[in-house]
């Protein structure tokens, strides 16, 4: 792996790599969220000398029209307009809670961990500015139990307290190691002292979240963008990206040779500039709730929902995986589907009954000469679980599985004939280490 410079503090996960992907000129200021020179963690002094202190507005609400003009959307995957959540929380009558969501449950994503490790002060600036914008004094950062990362964040918070640049104290709260722990209602439950399981909406967490108070939950990358837009304005933000999907975003790229990088890139960057597509049969976009796209289609697309949604995929949290031509897409998807089924919180019948059945049927399709009923069963069950959970776990899982059935249909025909492109090779898509999970894992 190449970083811009040597890394004095080895990160406890694959680190970021800078890439300047300016399509047509004006966004020559990338990277914005990451340091200009390599993956060197940025301390408060360096941060302040590059960006100066966070520009507080002196009044709640003033930041909101600025973010609206910038057109910033949530970078946690859902791409919800940032100003709408802020507006809803700012207008609430009770004292709101503000949470920075760094719980990156997606096993194929590293960008939130990397951002927190390398540029913690941008995230913390964004958290403070968001807290000021909604008039909140209850602020926390929700991150996985990673002792080294949490230690760094505590040190960064202490540094800021000494420099008196914060308006509200920030607490760090442990996120359990589950796929769904970062779902915002699961987050609200966890911070309220309950298991980190999703709850039914409505009410949305920005109406009633942590201990029943209106709660602003933003992904840590979204907060870092807020910190920069507050300083440099909407026009600067829009200099990168496309008019419909402005700005830059962090992506976790998985190349066919197994390389795994975090890069910052403009929205609208051609996918072929991010992934080496020769020798690639398909690209997974949007992570394990996303969809497979045939490599030939991906080669014509840019990193934008405008392009990806046309084929049923989306940008999501910026996970892009190139699957090598000599791998079995069905076996890979089956392995992940099984993982996703086991990550069900066990609350909603369609999810905990349906997803394991879908996963088992996909296992069948991944085996030689599968029972021909497995595919029709799977499609029928998928229809029975979609839209019927408290969260989007069933919907995301079926989107992923359905796209595999479509994109890897030649491989399915191979299996029917008793052949497989890649029998019994090492798994390619990353998953957490297999281990028994218990109730404690949700707390």
């Amino acid at each position: 792996m190449t970083y811009g410079t040597t890394v004095p503090h080895p990160a406890p996960f694959p680190g970021p790599q800078q890439r300047h992907t300016s399509r047509n000129g004006p966004a020559g200021d990338l990277p914005r969220l990451l340091p200009v020179h390599g993956a060197v963690p940025v301390d408060l002094h360096t941060h302040l000398s590059r960006h100066e202190a966070p520009p507080y507005f002196g009044h709640s609400g003033r930041l909101i029209p600025v973010l609206k003009a910038a057109g910033l959307t949530g970078r946690g995957g859902a791409a919800f307009p940032v100003h709408r959540k802020l507006r809803a929380v700012a207008e609430a009558r009770t004292q709101p809670v503000v949470i920075g969501n760094g719980a990156e449950g997606e096993p194929a994503s590293d960008k939130d961990k990397s951002l927190l490790w390398i540029s913690p002060h941008l995230v913390l600036d964004g958290l403070q500015l968001a807290a000021e914008a909604v008039g909140s004094q209850a602020v926390a950062l929700y991150v996985h139990r990673n002792a080294r990362l949490q230690e760094r964040l505590r040190a960064a918070i202490a540094e800021r307290a000494a420099a008196r640049i914060d308006v509200a104290p920030v607490e760090i709260i442990d996120a359990p190691p589950r796929f769904l722990a970062g779902e915002e209602s699961a987050l609200a439950n966890r911070i309220s002292g309950q298991p980190a399981m999703p709850r039914f909406k409505p009410p949305r967490v920005f109406e009633r979240g942590v201990v029943g108070r209106p709660t602003l939950v933003h992904n840590v990358e979204t907060l870092a963008h807020i910190a920069l837009i507050a300083r440099y304005g909407p026009a600067w933000f829009r200099a990168a990206g496309t008019p419909e999907e402005p700005g830059s975003m962090l992506c976790t790229l998985h190349q066919t040779d197994g390389r795994r990088d975090v890069v910052e890139t403009e929205l609208g960057t051609p996918l072929r500039d991010l992934l080496r597509l020769d020798g690639t049969q398909a690209v997974l976009s949007g992570g394990y709730h996303g969809a497979w796209v045939p490599a030939a289609d991906a080669a014509r697309m840019t990193l934008s929902n405008e392009h990806l949604q046309a084929v049923g995929a989306f940008v999501g949290a910026g996970v892009l995986v190139g699957l090598p031509a000599d791998r079995c897409g069905i076996a890979e998807t089956a392995r992940v589907a099984r993982y996703l089924a086991l990550e069900s919180a066990g609350q909603c019948g369609p999810c905990f009954n349906g997803l394991p059945r879908i996963a088992a049927a996909l296992d069948e399709v991944a085996s030689p000469r599968p029972d021909p009923r497995a595919i029709t069963d799977m499609i029928r069950w998928a229809g029975l679980v979609e839209g019927r959970g408290a969260c989007h776990h069933p919907d995301g899982t079926t989107r992923f599985v359905r796209s595999a059935l479509h994109v890897f249909r030649d491989e399915i025909a191979n299996h029917a004939a008793g052949r497989c492109v890649d029998p019994g090779r090492e798994p390619f898509l990353p998953l957490p280490a297999d281990r028994a999970l218990d109730a404690a894992d949700w707390n």
Partner: protein
């Protein structure tokens, strides 16, 4: 005696209603319809309560996939509302006693048997609230939907008492046994529900339990042979 009473209130009806068939004349038709739909409503509401308990405990009916239990619960409740509507409308239209429209929904406002009709009104109000909140379930708070659903037990009890007190139909014969059977079934279901409360699989183990049931040791030698029947036979076991 009844015919004469009705006839004195509404002579037009008796004039046309002379021809009788098993005592049903045009003037008594509404009265019979109201009684009959009342009995059917009680039966349907009882079935809905029983299925609701089954849905809640994730139980199933023999030979049927789990989602059918949910589907039956929902569809029978809609059918029940249709029968309750006919029951109420015919009771109001029946000229034998005057029941004001308000008394249908406002408990204890009826001049005729205020207490016993009031119980029916309470039951109707709760049933309507349950149907409306269930139709809007995706748009309202889950907690509101759940707490209203607890009232269904009260609605059922109030409907049963209303049935037993508003008419004497259920006081003897086959209909008495039917009322007893309904009561016993609901009591048994409630006891079963309470007994099962502590016995369900913990949430965090449910998906793993289903997965284990679906893939009984996919050892290589079993590949290509027909799957173990248990998992294949109920492919629709999705609630």
């Amino acid at each position: 005696m009844r015919t004469t009473l009705a006839g004195s209130i509404c002579p037009a009806l008796t004039a046309a209603g002379k021809a009788t068939m098993n005592g049903i004349t045009q003037s008594t038709a509404l009265w019979y319809a109201s009684r009959a739909t009342g009995v059917v409503s009680l039966l349907l509401l009882t079935a809905v309560v029983l299925l609701g308990v089954l849905v809640n405990r994730q139980g199933r009916l023999p030979g049927l996939p789990r989602f059918v239990v949910t589907g039956l619960h929902r569809n029978l409740s809609l059918l029940g509302v249709a029968f309750v509507a006919i029951h109420v409308l015919t009771a109001v239209l029946d000229p034998y006693v005057t029941i004001r429209i308000v008394a249908i929904v406002v408990p204890f406002s009826s001049a005729y048997k205020p207490l016993w009709l009031g119980l029916g009104a309470i039951s109707l109000d709760v049933v309507l609230a349950l149907i409306l909140t269930s139709l809007a379930r995706a748009r309202i708070s889950r907690r509101l939907w759940r707490s209203l659903h607890w009232l269904s037990y009260a609605a059922w009890v109030s409907a049963l008492v209303h049935s037993l007190t508003s008419s004497t139909d259920l006081h003897s014969g086959a209909l008495l046994y039917l009322a007893i059977a309904c009561s016993l079934a609901v009591v048994a279901a409630v006891i079963w529900r309470m007994a099962h409360a502590g016995r369900e699989i913990p949430r965090e183990e449910r998906a793993a339990a289903t997965l284990a049931m679906m893939s009984p040791d996919r050892a290589p030698q079993t590949r290509g042979t027909p799957r173990d029947g248990a998992s294949r036979r109920d492919p629709e076991n999705v609630r």
